[in-house]
């Protein structure tokens, strides 16, 4: 059940209203845990068992690692392997069977439980944090179970750290008006992003990308631009709903997006895009790799960056297009890193450090990211190459895709980001203006849902990141 489904919103309302009635303490936590497991059980028993397995391995692994303050590398390796096993099997078994030329029926029944890669990474973060001494192992099983089954962020993050989420369990169900108001506002904005923006653009993108050889460069360029908006609105919308839902329960989740399309470089883009994942890779992959290869100088930095970003790409899926997507980002970021001082020097000398230079860098970064999204969205590498080839070689004509309302939606997202970037707080607006915005948002969401219902289209769509 995606979080834009009215039934999910009903569940959040019900849980946030009844949780304060449950006596504070372990019982309240266990009720929240039970809701998480009931929510996840809707996906079927195998998925539920995988979640339970990851949780129990994390709990036992944490205690085991805490038990050996010195050494413990083998124990950590064993824990990491045990935690990665379901994810690697679910994501890569079919590809391995295909590559080895084995009977495809062997892996035909392998499923990827929704959210597996997210809570596996959260669990890995926990055991690694215990190993390096950032957190003490948790003695209470229910707290570890609840940490990995907190239902607002169970299906696609944000990927939390034990040191951030677990201490907040004491606050579960504690009513604070300001936090509840902020939560409702976030849910509303998240629904606008998902239902009004992302789900409206999705059919246009799908039309072009399902037939990569059938359209000219202007349609491909427009569809790719729409996909940039769609994937951002989809995941930032999901994240806003998740963070907003958690706030209704008294918990602050980590932010996942910070206006990424206003970044002046790819490095900055990854500090603002899917921040909980990029931060995870920074702390648990890049830092140890860079540290291990520190004697190599610049080559060590380049190798660590390229490896990390290729792994980030592969995290999205087992096909080559994702690895290439990550490799492309890694190579450009590595190039940007080793040339950073030279570029800064020339920027100063040529006077490109001002606002116009900054705006040009934002446009350039967005263009590069959007170009890499062709690989990300295409059916496969061949489809992506066909589209790149069309963009570079075919004559440009007027597009067949509509452009006025999709660009209007893109402007809406951009306006939201510019306001957030300026630091202006929505709550500072006069009350009537705020309520006009709330009504407009609600009407837009209902109109989009009703329009899809009339058209016979599915009124609720899964998030793009649910399949990762």
């Amino acid at each position: 059940m995606p979080s834009s489904d009215p039934r999910y919103l009903l569940l959040v309302a019900l849980v946030s209203a009844t949780l304060p009635l449950v006596p504070a303490g372990p019982l309240r936590l266990r009720v929240c845990l039970a809701v998480g497991y009931a929510f996840y059980a809707l996906l079927g028993l195998p998925s539920l068992l995988v979640l339970a397995y990851i949780s129990i391995v994390s709990y036992a692994g944490g205690l085991w690692l805490d038990d050996c303050p010195q050494g413990g590398k083998r124990r950590l390796t064993l824990c990491v392997c045990a935690l990665l096993l379901p994810l690697l099997t679910a994501k890569y078994a079919k590809s391995v069977v295909y590559l080895l030329g084995m009977d495809s029926r062997i892996a035909a029944d392998v499923i990827l439980p929704v959210g597996l890669s997210f809570y596996t990474f959260q669990a890995l973060g926990y055991v690694i944090d215990v190993y390096v001494g950032r957190v003490r192992s948790e003695r209470r099983l229910d707290r570890v179970l609840a940490f990995l089954a907190f239902f607002p962020q169970l299906s696609a993050g944000p990927i939390e750290r034990a040191s951030h989420l677990m201490p907040q369990f004491e606050r579960l169900g504690v009513f604070e008006e300001s936090r509840v108001r902020a939560g409702i506002r976030l849910i509303l904005w998240g629904l606008v992003l998902k239902v009004v923006v992302a789900d409206s653009l999705a059919p246009l993108v799908a039309l072009i990308y399902s037939n990569p050889y059938g359209y000219g460069p202007s349609d491909i360029a427009l569809a790719t631009l729409y996909f940039s908006v769609q994937v951002y609105a989809d995941f930032a919308g999901y994240s806003a709903i998740a963070i907003g839902s958690a706030k209704l329960l008294g918990v602050d989740l980590v932010p996942n997006f910070a206006q990424p399309y206003l970044s002046e470089s790819l490095t900055e883009f990854w500090r603002r895009w899917h921040m909980s994942l990029s931060g995870w890779f920074r702390d648990y992959v890049f830092t140890p790799l860079h540290f291990a290869w520190r004697s190599w100088g610049a080559a060590g930095v380049v190798a660590a960056l390229v490896t990390t970003f290729t792994l980030i790409g592969m995290w999205h899926g087992s096909t080559w297009q994702y690895a290439l997507f990550g490799l492309w980002h890694g190579a450009l970021i590595a190039l940007g890193t080793v040339t950073a001082k030279t570029r800064a020097h020339w920027r100063r000398r040529l006077g490109l450090g001002g606002r116009i230079g900054g705006a040009a860098r934002i446009v350039l970064t967005f263009t590069v990211v959007t170009l890499t999204f062709v690989l990300f969205r295409a059916r496969d590498v061949h489809g992506a190459l066909a589209m790149y080839s069309a963009l570079a070689t075919q004559p440009w004509h007027l597009p067949r895709l509509p452009w006025h309302w999709p660009l209007g939606l893109a402007m809406l997202v951009l306006a939201g980001d510019l306001v957030a970037e300026s630091g202006y707080r929505f709550t500072l607006l006069p009350r009537p203006v705020r309520w006009c915005a709330y009504h407009a948002a609600t009407i837009a969401i209902l109109a989009a849902l009703f329009g899809r219902f009339i058209a016979g289209a599915p009124y609720v769509q899964y998030y793009i990141y649910n399949r990762f």
Binding site: I128, Y131, V132, G133, R134, R282, D283, Y284, F286, T287, P288, H290, F291, A292, R294, V301, T337
Partner: protein, 80 residues
Amino acid sequence: MSDFRERVTDIFREVFDKPALELFDEMQAKDVEGWDSLTHITLIMALEESFGVKFTTREVMGFQNVGEMLVCLRGKLPTV
């Protein structure tokens, strides 16, 4: 300020190019402009070189603030 702390402060100032930087035990990366994952390793390398010690991956990943870093570093130095 002890010699040890003064020496570490000088290394921080040089790595982050902030001549007036003052250290405090609770200081974290977010408190110092320019302290990112790249400069973090540069800082670690500068400390290793200056004090002639080696950190382990576990130690580097476990530092939560400057205080913990200094305690770890001091623990590696020969006691006088």
